[in-house]
Structures are given as structure tokens and as C-alpha cells.
């Protein structure tokens, strides 16, 4: 059957609520409205207000409240309405959610899921398009997950809810309405397992979440220029699947990391460093990054310019020839000979 990512997420929540009475869903507008993206659509109706309810409008309150409910045995799944509006909860997340197990010598685990619709490409106004995964991935104690299709969305969310540790579940907004032919419940590889979305022998594109469809497009486009490109979808950023990434890059000898978040000090840099450390002898060229610009996320009319797109990925691939002195400044497309 044809399923959208948002439908798959809704089904995962439904099935988890059905499977375990301790699972509860709360947040801003998740009840009657079903969430601004309708991910919790109908849950309050089906399971009642005790299981799915609206809270006062306070992100720190929502996350702090979830911590307390975990202490009494619940498994809260909370929604942050948009990426940049999770920041008021940042203190709770970094100071408490991430550290609670460690602070209590393993006595208190927090089996909660914090769902964050994130990233751009939807023409959202200011503060609605941040790629905030780097903040969470940088905080020890948090698992960070980001699906790129409906089957994974279902499978990863079910696993996140069952997980004994807090999971930051990053939902690429631009993919909510993307469709896939799949039977639910879908069971996909678990946390910490990347998948190869397209096989190839010349270059590995490592990517995740919102950038996966674009990377696949870029791989198609590169094929017509004679490059056989492999695309690895990380699926979970923490834990990180070194094995799949390293195995792929050792085979292809070239690597480009693609992410929508700004490149500096981000997840893409982390991936590049790991690849360099582990694949040094196999690399034919330096690992390159293609990412969002190092500017605040712009107003909608400029997001096309801001977001990494097929052209920028192709330029990076072209720079991987490594037959001369490599040009590591972001050299313009026109100045680079391809082929």
C-alpha cells in the first residue's frame, strides 16, 4: 500500500500506544488538532485524553514533565512543534535528559522520545527550518535518529519508543508527504545500522534524513557523467554505523558527506573525520562536505540558494578527481573540469 512518511509515523504511534499502556503522547496541539503536521491525528480520539493530550505551551515544561513521568514508569513520546522551538527545552534536554542515567549511577533511565520536525525545503518562515541534529548528537547520552522514508520512519519510531534511553527523533519536514509503497508494520534494520540506498563503485555519498532524496538524484545525474555513485543513508546519527560507511569508502576510495545543516562543526564534519581516520590508505582524494551555508537559515525565497542541491554535490564529485593539486576551497563549478 502507498504510505506517506507522516502516515507511517502516525501508525507507529498508534501501534505503540496499542502495544504498551505505559506509552503516552503529549505536547502542543497534539490532541484535538492532531499536531500541526497531523502526526498525532486521531490518537486522542482513539486512546483518550489520558494517553494523548495537549500541554501548556512550554517546551521546557513538556520535557521536564516527561522526565518526571519516566520516574513513575511511563514512556512519554513528546512533540516539539518545530526545530527552533525546541530550544527552550534545551536546558532540560542537555542537563537532565541526556545525563540522568549517568547522574544516578544507572538507577534512572529515561525511556522517552522527543520528536522534532526539522530542516527546511518547505518555505517555512524564520525559526521553522533549523537543522539542529548537531546540537543533540554532540550531547553524550542522547540517541539521534532521522529516517528518510516511510518504512524507516515506522520502524525507527517503534524502536525509539521501545528503547530504554532517550531518543531525539528528528523528522525531516520536507519528507512528511513523500510516499512509498510498503506494508506496515515495517521492520527495518535497527539503530546504528546504515543502509546503502544505491550501490556504486566510484564515490560514496554519505547522507541522512532530508538530504537522502537529493543525494540519490545527484547520483543519477553523476551517472550520466560517468561516475558510479554509492549512496549511504545513516538513519541513526547516534549510534553511528562506522562499519557500513568505512566498508563503502574503502571500496570506492572517494567520499562526499552531504547534509542540510551548516557544515562547520557539524555532523558532516564528524563523518568526514571518521572516514579520514579509518580509510586513510584507501582514499584517492580528501573527504569533502556539501552542506547548508554558514548563514542563518534564510527567508523562504532564498532557501533554494541556501540548501545544498544536486549541482553542489556534482561539483564536489568533480573535485574528487585528485589528478592534480586538490582545490579545497569551495571552488565554483565553472572553474572545475569534469569528466
Amino acid at each position: 500500500m502507498t504510505v506517506t512518511m507522516s502516515g507511517a509515523l502516525n501508525a507507529a504511534l498508534r501501534d505503540s500506544l496499542e502495544a504498551d499502556d505505559d506509552v503516552i503522547v503529549f505536547g502542543e496541539d497534539v490532541g484535538t488538532l492532531g499536531g500541526v503536521f497531523r502526526i498525532t491525528d486521531g490518537l486522542a480520539e482513539t486512546f483518550g485524553e489520558e494517553r494523548c493530550f495537549d500541554t501548556p505551551l512550554a517546551e521546557a515544561g513538556i520535557v521536564g514533565f516527561a522526565i518526571g513521568m519516566c520516574l513513575t514508569g511511563f514512556r512519554p513520546v513528546v512533540e516539539m512543534q518545530f526545530d527552533a522551538f525546541a530550544y527552550p527545552a534545551f536546558e532540560q534536554i542537555t542537563s537532565h535528559v541526556a545525563k540522568m542515567r549517568n547522574r544516578t549511577s544507572g538507577r534512572v533511565g529515561l525511556p522517552m522520545v522527543i520528536r522534532v520536525p526539522y530542516a527546511g525545503g518547505i518555505g517555512g518562515v524564520e525559526h521553522h527550518c533549523d537543522s539542529s541534529e548537531g546540537y543533540y548528537a554532540h550531547t553524550a547520552g542522547l540517541k539521534v535518529v532521522t529516517p528518510s522514508d516511510a518504512a524507516d520512519a515506522y520502524s525507527l519510531l517503534r524502536e525509539a519508543i521501545d528503547d530504554p534511553d532517550p531518543v531525539i527523533f528528528m523528522e525531516p519536514k520536507a519528507l512528511y508527504w513523500s510516499k512509498q509503497d510498503v506494508e506496515l508494520p515495517s521492520q527495518r534494520p535497527g539503530f546504528g545500522e546504515a543502509v546503502i540506498r544505491r550501490t556504486g563503485s566510484d564515490v560514496t555519498l554519505v547522507t541522512y534524513g532530508p538530504s537522502v532524496p537529493m543525494a540519490l538524484q545527484a547520483a543519477e545525474a553523476a551517472a550520466s557523467e560517468g561516475w558510479d555513485v554509492e549512496v549511504v543513508d545513516l538513519r541513526t546519527i547516534v549510534p553511528f554505523d562506522d562499519e557500513t560507511v568505512v566498508e563503502s569508502v574503502r571500496r570506492t576510495g572517494r567520499c562526499v558527506v552531504v547534509s542540510e545543516a551548516q557544515g562547520f562543526a557539524g555532523v558532516a564534519g564528524e563523518v568526514a573525520a571518521r572516514v579520514s581516520e579509518r580509510c586513510f590508505h584507501s582514499l584517492q582524494a580528501p573527504v569533502l562536505r556539501v552542506s547548508g551555508l554558514e548563514t542563518p537559515y534564510p527567508a523562504p525565497m532564498l532557501e533554494k540558494t541556501y540548501l545544498p542541491g544536486v549541482e553542489r554535490v556534482l561539483d564536489a564529485i568533480a573535485r574528487l578527481q585528485w589528478d592534480d593539486v586538490p582545490d579545497l576551497s569551495h571552488e565554483p563549478a565553472a572553474a572545475v573540469s569534469r569528466g
Binding site: E28, D29, G31, T32, L33, G34, V36, D54, P56, L57, A58, E59, A60, G61, A84, F85, Y87, P88, G123, G124, V125, E126, H127, H128, F264, L293, E294, T295, P296, P298, A299, P300, M301, L302, T305, Y306, E311, S329, H330, E331, P332, A333, A334, A335
Partner: protein, 371 residues
């Protein structure tokens, strides 16, 4: 036990019922049970607020229409909240500060900001189309309540400079649950910052009704715990809004610190054009509020006094219409935004990395232009 705090506590109590000077038919009502006396504004001010509300509403309806034509990405209407937005804004001076949220487009128009600049954020050509310093008007704020702390700081700054400017900060009912609301009230009280926190209680935060937002008997009561004077007002009564603003401004300007106003009003349209309000409220509820229209109310009073006639009404509507059509025309052209402007205001001096990226985008654009 009698304590010295009693008198102070008493002074902090808001009126038990919202202050109202005109009933929904436009008849003057006796004040009873209010904790202070409120003076009926003179006819001149009521004519002015009426006129500005007519213009504001027409602007608001036009903006909503622009979303349907794809000219605005999204628009949060404030139809029905005219008395609050116009009344509060009209009451302050150009040198006073204003801290608006995404919903205060009508207030910004009243403030005298070019409507097309008011709509930049929602149109998507810039995060803020006007100059906040020149206009003493902060950029419209979308993270809820965060601007309130800025308002407290700005008001305190003005006070330190020895000026008598106040800050008027708008906020919705839902946003009073945010931590920043509480921190802002506390800071403002502690530093005796002349800021008016103007809560437009329009009954919903997107879909969540006030009853699920708070257990307080009224949002105005939230002032007490911080030592802040507060008042509740019928937010659909333009005369009462002006009268309460007068008291609040006098309080702030005479150095007595912040003031909290809860205006009881209603959001007639959905949260934004993208929202489906039928999922959480009934048509009957909306209809009941249509009978409390702030424009009709003051119009009835003005007409009964001979302060307004059909000719003036027609002329004002014509004026509102031409402002709307002017806005429509200007919005019909596709705005041009220079992609290179992306790099302009990240830092005072761009970093080398930014310069590199600027070069990359510049080259992409030249390549495109040649293709």
C-alpha cells in the same frame, strides 16, 4: 492576622471583571466593581480608533486574501482583535518601544509602518522588512514569549538613560505558559522597568483552549506573584482598551514599574490560513463573538452622539479600500531578493569561510547567467 502587606496586595488585585465602558450595542455602561476609575476617552480619540480599526481590518482581510493568491507564505489574522492592536498601539508615542509577535500585523500598520514592510516576514523576502531602531519597533517575533524579556531589557535601558519611554509588549494567552513570560515579568518587576505586557487572550493557542493552558482565575492575576499591577479589560471594547492603556502608561511613566493587561478578545479566523479551526471549535462559538464586534460597537456610540455619519463611514471605507488595493498592486510584483545578500549580515565582518562560500555562490550565479 493583619499584615502590612495587605494594602500592597490590595493594590495589586486586578478588577474582578474585565473593565468595560461600552456594551456590545455601543451604550455606555456604569463602571462597577473596578478597582480604579476609568475615564471615558473623548470623542476625538474614539473617532480615531474607529478609523484605524476600519483600515486595520481591511488590511487584515487583504493579507488573508494574499495567501490564497500565493503572495504570502502564511498569515495569522487578527480580525476581531482590532480594539487591542489598534488601541494599545495608538496609545503609545513614536519614541516608545513596541515588541510585536507574528500576529501583530495590524498593530504595525497602526504604528505607521508601510504595510508591505509589515508583511515581509510572512511574504518571505526578509525576516524583518522595517528598521527596528528607526521605528522603535522590534522585529516580529515567532518564538513565543522570548521578546518579552527583550522588552523588559529595553524598558530598563530607557529608564537608565533617564528617558521616559515605555515598552509595549504583545503576547497571546498560550504564551503566558512559557518560562520566558515569567522571567520577563520577574525581571521587569525587580528592575522596575516601564513595560506594559499586553496579553491578548483570544481564547486559543492554535487549538488549545485557555482552560487547558492555565488554572488561574484570570491571566491578569499572574501579575500578583511578581508584584506587578494588573488589569483585565474587555478587549472588544475600544473605549475600555484606551482607558486602561492610559492608566497603565501613567503608571509606567511615573516610575512605578511594569503593568500587565489581560484583554479578553477572540480570534475570529483560524490561527493562520494554514490552520483548520473547525477541528477544535464550533461555528456557534464564533458567531457569538461576531456580535461583540469592536468596530460596530464604537461606531454605534459615535453615531448616537452625532460624531459620525454615513458619509464619513463611506469615505473611510473607500480610503481603506484604496489602501488595500494599493497593497495588492504592490504585492503583485515578484520581489527580487539578491541571493548574495545571504552573506551580508552574518557577522559585522565576514569570516574567511563566509567569503569562500560567497565566492562559490557568486560563481554559481554567473554560470547560471551564462547558460
Amino acid at each position: 492576622m493583619q499584615t502590612t502587606a495587605n494594602a500592597a496586595q490590595q493594590a495589586l488585585l486586578p478588577s474582578p471583571n474585565p473593565v468595560q465602558l461600552l456594551d456590545p450595542t455601543g451604550a455606555e455602561v456604569e463602571q462597577h466593581g473596578t478597582v480604579r476609575d476609568y475615564a471615558m476617552p473623548d470623542a476625538g480619540r474614539l473617532r480615531q480608533i474607529w478609523r484605524q480599526m476600519v483600515i486595520g481590518r481591511r488590511f487584515d482581510i487583504q493579507a488573508t486574501a494574499l495567501t490564497k493568491q500565493g503572495r504570502l507564505a502564511v498569515y495569522p489574522s487578527s480580525r476581531g482583535q482590532e480594539a487591542c492592536q489598534v488601541g494599545a498601539t495608538m496609545s503609545i508615542h513614536p519614541t516608545d518601544w513596541m515588541f510585536p509577535t507574528y500576529r501583530e500585523s495590524m498593530a504595525l500598520v497602526t504604528r505607521g509602518i508601510d504595510p508591505i514592510e509589515v508583511l515581509s516576514l510572512l511574504r518571505g523576502d526578509s525576516h524583518c522588512g522595517y528598521d527596528p531602531i528607526a521605528t522603535h519597533t522590534a522585529a516580529q517575533c515567532t518564538p513565543l514569549s522570548t521578546q518579552l524579556v527583550h522588552a523588559a531589557g529595553a524598558a530598563y535601558g530607557e529608564k537608565r538613560r533617564g528617558r521616559d519611554s515605555v515598552a509595549l509588549a504583545f503576547i497571546g494567552d498560550g504564551a503566558t505558559s512559557e518560562g520566558d513570560f515569567h522571567e520577563a515579568l520577574n525581571f521587569a518587576a525587580v528592575f522596575e522597568a516601564p513595560v506594559i505586557f499586553f496579553v491578548q487572550n483570544n481564547k486559543y493557542a492554535i487549538s488549545v483552549p485557555l482552560s487547558k493552558q492555565t488554572k488561574a482565575p484570570a491571566l491578569a492575576y499572574k501579575g500578583i506573584g511578581y508584584g506587578i499591577r494588573a488589569e483585565q479589560v474587555d478587549g472588544n471594547d475600544p473605549a475600555a482598551v484606551l482607558a486602561v492603556m492610559d492608566v497603565a502608561l501613567e503608571h509606567c511613566r511615573s516610575g512605578k514599574g511594569p503593568f500587565l493587561i489581560e484583554a479578553h478578545t477572540y480570534r475570529l479566523d483560524a490561527h493562520t490560513n494554514a490552520d483548520d479551526a473547525t477541528r477544535y471549535r464550533s461555528a456557534d462559538e464564533v458567531t457569538a463573538w461576531l456580535d461583540r464586534d469592536p468596530i460596530a460597537r464604537v461606531e454605534a456610540w459615535l453615531k448616537s452622539r452625532g460624531e459620525l455619519n454615513d458619509d464619513i463611514v463611506a469615505a473611510t471605507h473607500a480610503e481603506a479600500e484604496s489602501l488595500a488595493s494599493d497593497l495588492r498592486d504592490r504585492m503583485n510584483t515578484d520581489p527580487t531578493v539578491d541571493p548574495m545578500s545571504l552573506f551580508d549580515n552574518v557577522f559585522a565582518t565576514p569570516t574567511p569561510q563566509l567569503e569562500q562560500l560567497r565566492g562559490m555562490v557568486q560563481a554559481e550565479l554567473s554560470a547560471e547567467a551564462q547558460a
